[in-house]
């Protein structure tokens, strides 16, 4: 029975999606109930799975769909890391979205694709081989597109189009790379320390080219720098969607994909042997700086956050690419940390927009007085992003820095410092405005923020704090990533 656990986890959202899609728009109670029940159920199942995995259990399910081609679900430590993130944040984001979209149109469509999106994320997390990963990766693209264009405005459609162009292009590269690799290697299951055997020696050029293709493919979602154009544009989506895009699903899937490719397909020795790690790290570094730099100039709050995501997600890539256990711990932990921090920011930003109609940085004046709770959550998230201890972001940066030294790249420290400086430069003015400026005279509460909107950012802000404070506790993200890294490097 337990061996079906991954499937059950997948089905909690995949199965719910069609049901929700089919519901009429005005059945909001039932829809909410189903949604939350599924999210809660999944959380429970993931918790169960995590415990089992921590005790050394292994899960694997396969379905052969063509000769030599199988869909495979597998739950290992790395999966659990991502699974936990997505299931926890799904619950919160769903709750938030229910509140956010109250009275809106096309809610069934929204929540249906929302569930589908999470299902795809879960699938990505539990993909047991490269093919499965590709399948769910593309599914994610499709499931998110309707969410991006949900508002239906011309701008949203434009964003959706750009999103599609980027992600489908990336998907194509990924597919090509994966197919190539399958053609060379027969099958590409994910396994610690890589599965390529002696291919890198026999076909170094092909293996390198495949790597470039694969990374380009997942790099689009991970918003590596020349491929990041969709992310700032797609912030026109509703706040829960942005939260989902930036924190849980899309961007993270890209980062997760990089992890899988680097660790479980190529393996660290191959990465070093072929000299692939350094360019990747350089790319990540460039992304970190460029994203931060662009964020400085944005007045649109969500756009600023979006560029910040571009920058922050590359910490994960950097951690992976540095090929050092310490950096890996940092990068992997940042997967979670960035997720909870960014979701906090987006949820809070959504609250600002909902409650006061504030969507720009320049409109944030006095927000601390108008909406103290949301602003506090935002503050926690922002400080975490900057890397202020003892918040979550500090932990990852600490390990990244150490990892950079470990990998013989002291420049990483400078990179972290420079990026931290820019982070501060684009986040602190927001905090300043929110807390230390007086609200504009004409600021009137536009809409009461219900508990469904208020609680999720508060909870995630709590997570940000806890993930930093309790970093050394056994089930903290950091603890779990140490466990993963011990598998990948030892």
């Amino acid at each position: 029975m337990t061996e079906l656990l991954p499937l059950a986890i997948l089905m909690t959202s995949l199965g719910v999606a069609p049901a929700i899609l089919a519901m009429p728009d005005d059945w909001s109670r039932l829809r909410t109930a189903v949604n939350l029940a599924a999210a809660a159920l999944k959380l429970g199942l993931v918790a169960w799975l995590s415990l089992s995995v921590a005790q050394g259990a292994e899960f694997g399910l396969g379905l052969e769909i063509a000769p030599g081609l199988a869909l495979e679900l597998k739950a290992d430590a790395l999966s659990v890391l991502f699974l936990a993130l997505s299931s926890v944040l799904w619950l919160l984001t769903t709750l938030y979205a229910v509140g956010y979209l109250e009275g809106g149109t096309d809610r069934s469509r929204f929540f249906g694709f929302f569930s589908l999106c999470v299902a795809a994320t879960v699938g990505i997390a539990m993909a047991g081989n490269l093919f499965t990963f590709v399948v769910f990766f593309e599914l994610l693209t499709l499931a998110t597109w309707p969410l991006v264009v949900h508002r239906g405005s011309a701008e949203a459609h434009r964003a959706g189009r750009i999103y599609l162009v980027y992600t489908l292009g990336g998907g194509l590269a990924l597919t090509l790379g994966a197919a190539w690799l399958y053609a060379l290697a027969g099958a590409v299951p994910f396994a610690p320390r890589g599965v390529l055997g002696d291919l890198p020696q026999t076909h170094p050029v092909a293996v390198t080219a495949i790597f470039v293709l694969l990374i380009a493919g997942v790099g689009v979602k991970a918003a590596l720098v020349p491929l990041h154009g969709w992310l700032p544009v797609s912030m026109v989506a509703p706040a829960p969607v942005s939260a989902l895009l930036h924190a849980v699903a899309v961007v993270k899937s890209g980062a997760y994909g990089i992890m899988r490719i680097v660790y479980d397909v190529y393996g660290v020795e191959t990465m070093q042997g072929l000299g692939l790690a350094a360019p990747l790290a350089a790319l990540a570094g460039a992304t970190i700086l460029w994203g931060s730099f662009r964020a400085l100039r944005q007045d649109d709050l969500k756009k600023r956050l979006a560029y910040s995501t571009v920058s922050q997600v590359s910490y994960i890539t950097l951690g992976v690419a540095l090929i050092s256990p310490l950096a890996a711990v940092g990068g992997l932990a940042h997967l979670i940390h960035q997720g909870i921090m960014k979701i906090t920011l987006f949820l809070a930003a959504g609250n600002f927009a909902e409650g006061r109609g504030v969507k720009t940085v320049s409109g944030m004046d006095g927000m601390g007085r108008l909406m103290p709770g949301a602003t506090l959550a935002f503050t926690v998230g922002a400080l975490g992003m900057i890397g202020v201890p003892p918040l979550a972001g500090f932990i990852s940066k600490w390990y990244l820095g150490a990892g950079g030294l470990d990998a013989g790249q002291p420049a990483v420290i400078a990179l972290l410092a420079g990026s931290g400086l820019m982070n501060a430069a684009y986040f602190l003015p927001i905090l300043y405005r929110a807390w230390f400026r007086d609200p504009p005279a004409d600021a009137v509460p536009k809409r009461r923020i219900g508990w469904m909107l208020a609680v999720p950012p508060a909870v995630t802000a709590g997570f940000v704090l806890a993930a930093g404070l309790l970093a050394n506790a056994p089930f903290s993200p950091l603890g779990w990533t140490r466990f993963i890294v011990s598998l990948e490097y030892l």
Partner: protein
């Protein structure tokens, strides 16, 4: 006495902060703010010192302990926070953003107290950052243009300092493989790490040229905040330096020279710039720069001559304690003066302040004199080359301080009454003043120190100079135009700025679209179709007819690449 758990030191203000987040509880809890540092004070005074605490689950494994060096720091820091808290409560009774101020205050307090007991890098850094960043709120409290500017400068320096500290700490931690703070002073720490850590801490210490934020922030912040900024937080920088520099274990002449140069520059610059300030708190702030430079000089000497450190250490510590209380008392006195109209009461207040000022200037029979003497004695052990100008420096420091104090008192005497300032703000000040004046008897070995007449020279000289200047000013009708705040940064500020937020509208982008629109696809006509059919059939027939039998290449023949390899 119940053994005090050490974790309560940072936890007490933090818990209070958390409780304050509940709006309903605020009225009752506000009064507790001055009490929040008391556990720390108790811990500092407790005998024996509280046992170290290890919290493995917290952060990256947190260790708290109270070292001998930290103990005095903890003591005066806690006391100052308590007094400042008290005054803040009074001073900001009706101010907008009071709760925000208190929250920042408590957070900064947590950081300040916590960093003194933290033994591991992460905790130290966390507390340090909490203190630095929360102080931003203290600086910004007033909400005026000056505060905004000061705040921006402050946060810029603070963040940069933090990052330097972070970089240094991580370099150090990686080099030593240890996360204990004490290990950062070890021999295997690379020079770069030490330099970065020192840079981060020197920002906090206010060493020239990293001091630019300091006068701005002190002038802009409310008086109690200035008091803790100057009294407690600058000392946190000092404490950090004392912890991470290999004092007493290794000679670093180069570093020592650099530090000494910074210190001397501070000693010169502080009175020069401070005297022309038009605001009392700014003047006091410059005096802090001078004083802190003096302490930095002590550290430099310690770096240059490790052997001298056992003597120098306590001296610097003494100086720190003394300066902490004196400067804090002075700052706390500012609102007390404000609360009075020019008259007898104000004169009395000014007289009391003058006492404090003299103590700061090192008048005999004050804590200042004791500290200075101790330092002087300790510096005897400094390398020979240093001796020549160390005395001069000390003299210049005293003179400068005395001048600045006079200037400050002068300005205070003229300050207009601020009617919304309650009279009871003077109570905490009185407490502080009492402590300062009682210091010679409280400080170890203080009462025994013999007053040195030489100590009278600088104040005297200063008074003479001041009188001369006054006479000059009066006779020639000179007027002093105060410089723009922020020294070099003031020049930058002069440039007009559209908005203080780093925000510009995004550049317009060209639309990206893949869709070719508005095409009227010409439908092929059947006549052409017939032609096409004929042509294709003929072509195909030709191809097939001429193609050689056997496997013709559609693409390359099956590649040698196989998957099984």
């Amino acid at each position: 006495m119940i053994a005090l758990p050490l974790w309560i030191v940072p936890a007490a203000p933090l818990v209070l902060l958390a409780l304050l987040l509940v709006p309903q509880a605020r009225p009752a809890l506000r009064a507790l703010v001055p009490l929040a540092p008391l556990p720390a004070l108790a811990a500092a005074l407790a005998s024996p010192a509280p046992a170290p605490v290890t919290l493995d689950w917290l952060m990256l494994g947190t260790e708290l302990a109270l070292t001998d060096t930290a103990r005095p720091f903890l003591g005066f820091t806690a006391a100052l926070w308590a007094l400042a808290g008290w005054q803040a409560l009074r001073l900001l009774r009706d101010a907008p953003g009071r709760d925000r101020f208190l929250a920042c205050f408590l957070l900064a307090m947590t950081g300040n107290l916590g960093l003194l007991v933290a033994q591991d890098i992460a905790a130290f850094y966390s507390f340090f950052a909490a203190m630095s960043l929360a102080s931003w709120g203290l600086v910004l409290q007033g909400g005026g243009a000056a505060q905004v500017f000061a705040g921006r400068v402050y946060i810029g320096f603070a963040v940069t300092g933090e990052l330097a500290l972070f970089a240094g700490l991580s370099l150090g931690a990686f080099a030593t493989g240890e996360t204990r703070l004490a290990a950062m002073a070890g021999p295997e720490v690379p020079a770069l790490a030490t330099a970065l850590m020192a840079a981060g801490l020197l920002v906090k210490l206010g060493a020239v040229p990293l001091h630019l934020w300091l006068p701005l922030a002190h002038a802009a912040a409310p008086a109690p905040a200035s008091a803790v900024l100057s009294g407690a937080m600058l000392k946190a920088g000092l404490f950090g330096l004392m912890t991470v520099l290999p004092l007493g274990s290794a000679a670093l002449p180069g570093a020592a020279a650099g530090l000494a140069a910074m210190a001397l520059a501070g000693l010169v610059l502080a009175p020069a710039l401070g005297l022309v300030q038009a605001e009392a708190k700014a003047v006091l702030a410059y005096s802090s720069i001078g004083q802190m430079s003096l302490m930095a000089l002590g550290l430099a000497a310690g770096l240059a001559a490790p052997a001298a450190w056992p003597l120098l250490g306590p001296a610097v510590l003494l100086l720190a304690v003394h300066h902490a209380f004196a400067k804090a008392a002075l700052f706390l006195g500012v609102p007390a003066v404000w609360s009075t109209a020019p008259g007898a009461l104000r004169a009395a207040l000014l007289a009391a302040l003058a006492l404090l000022a003299l103590a700061l200037a090192g008048l005999p029979a004050t804590s200042g004199a004791i500290a200075k003497t101790a330092l002087k004695e300790a510096l005897e052990a400094a390398p020979a080359g240093w001796q020549v100008w160390l005395g001069t420096a000390l003299f210049a420091a005293s003179l400068g301080t005395a001048l600045l104090m006079l200037r400050a008192l002068w300005l205070l005497a003229d300050a207009p009454q601020k009617p919304d300032t309650a009279g009871d703000v003077a109570l905490p000040w009185l407490g502080a003043t009492g402590l300062v004046l009682a210091a010679p008897w409280l400080l170890p070995g203080g009462a025994a120190a013999a007053p040195d007449p030489a100590d009278l020279v600088p104040p005297g000289l200063a008074a003479a100079l001041a009188l001369a200047a006054l006479a000059l000013v009066r006779s020639f009708g000179l007027r002093l135009a105060p410089p723009k705040a922020g020294e070099l940064l003031g020049l930058f500020e002069a440039a007009p700025r559209p908005a203080p937020v780093l925000a510009l509208p995004p550049p317009p982008r060209r639309g990206r679209t893949l869709v070719v629109r508005r095409g009227r696809g010409a439908v092929a006509r059947p006549e052409r179709g017939a032609l096409a059919i004929l042509g294709v059939a003929a072509a195909l027939a030709l191809v097939m007819a001429l193609a050689p039998a056997g496997p013709a290449p559609v693409s390359a023949p099956p590649a040698p690449v196989t998957g099984e390899g």
